[in-house]
């Protein structure tokens, strides 16, 4: 995939892919932000037709970081068409991961506990007492 892009001769690696850390900031249930910990990411920078693109992706994925950077650079330059079927490739990737998500969601759905509950009516939580 990358070979095909680079064979066009207009893509250039601005900064080689490198492993880095992103510190995750999360909000707790009091809405207080805190740092949960760091996630490993791969980051790369590519120049296409004078426009630079930066790609960051979780995990040890130097080539996907390059791909994302190339896509962004191409889009910035307004000549996204040069990406050709890259778009489909990325869509297929996204499709695959979303299918996995649906699959695990259905697996979880199958574990929903079905109580033999009365007719549903709103439960007045306040009535439960302090």
């Amino acid at each position: 995939m990358l070979d095909r892009l680079w064979s066009l001769g207009e893509f250039r690696v601005q900064r080689a892919p490198r492993a880095g850390l992103v510190m995750l900031t999360v909000r707790d249930s009091f809405d207080t932000p805190f740092h949960l910990g760091e996630v490993l990411v791969s980051e790369a920078e590519v120049v296409f037709d004078g426009h630079s693109g930066c790609g960051t992706i979780c995990g040890d994925e130097p080539e996907r970081a390059l791909l994302l950077a190339a896509v962004e650079a191409a889009e910035h330059s307004g000549r996204a068409a040069v990406l050709g079927d890259i778009g489909e490739f990325i869509c297929r990737l996204e499709e695959k991961s979303s299918k996995e998500r649906v699959r695990s969601s259905k697996l979880a759905a199958a574990t929903a506990v079905r109580f033999e509950s009365m007719k549903k009516e709103t439960v007045d939580l306040g009535s439960l007492g302090g």
Partner: protein, 367 residues
Amino acid sequence: MGYVAVKGGAAAIENAEKFSLARRAGGASALLKPEQIREQLHLAVDRVMGEGSLYAPDLAALAFKQAAGDTFEAAFILRSYRTTLPRLGYSEPIATSGMRVIRRISAAFKEIPGGQILGPTPDYTLRLLDFELQDESASRTRQRIRQLLQEVQLLDPLPERFPKVVEMLRREGLLVRHRHGSGDGDGLVDITRQALSFPAARSAQLQTLARGETGGLLALAYSNMRGYGSVHPVIGELRVGFLPVSYKNPGSGSVECIGEIQVTEAEVISRIAGAEGPAVFSLGYGLCFGHNETKAIAMAVLDRAMACEEPVAPSEDQEFVLTHVDGIESMGFCNHYKLPHYVTFQSELDRLRNIQIGQRPPEDTPS
């Protein structure tokens, strides 16, 4: 290959390393591949990531293999690898309400809007050794999984979002609004850049607990649950799922989702906090990498315990808890006693012998 007589420790160190290599990989069994560990020992990998405070499943699996299964050692290896990587930036603050849930239960109500979702849990199995696993047949296991997938095919997937139980309680005015008893001003502290000082800000407390060692957190929380402390916890909600990581692209500046991380979140409700003010429930919060429910619950109980105005038990003393739950620090210091101490011991001998002699030897040695 002859042994070069290397003075002192060098040869011994190398041979010790080779001996542990032989211990790990000298057997007849096939060498473990990290992806086998990542997939089939995923709970160990989650624990190592949490305690190593680095979300990188492949590397955590590699560290677990390198450490021959010692989670302390594996978390330590991950922690020191972190030091070699540049910090590229901070993610945008992520709200956990957007979690893609695969497990979500509450002990506070029989039924909760969105339902009690058991998800992947052995909680209700009988813990009897499953001897079939001794020679588990790949085909039969794959077949059972395929069959399960077919069965669930017709089901609707879970909704995108689930309402939070604590949110419902808060709307009813039953839950404490803000957090009291936390550190001096609640600035966002990063304990990888600033040493802890006490009282510690809430952000420092949660970050320290999140990277804490599971056993240490459990022991402290358990002491509180058993009576050394006043938290009578009810799990308002326990979630296991995936959080999107949103990160501002350094080039374009637009915020993108660069991946997902699995987390476990526990929200613990417990009896009325302080005496003053309207009677309300108070809340303890726990969040950690991967699927580690024991740790998340222990975190939430300790988070609530440390909010006590007057700490009575160790688990309620913020300084006591936060300085003793880091596995890399505690394991390191515990094992440092293996290092030679003969100079200090010599000094102790000198003191003891003097005391036994009973009287002070004449002024002969230079003061």
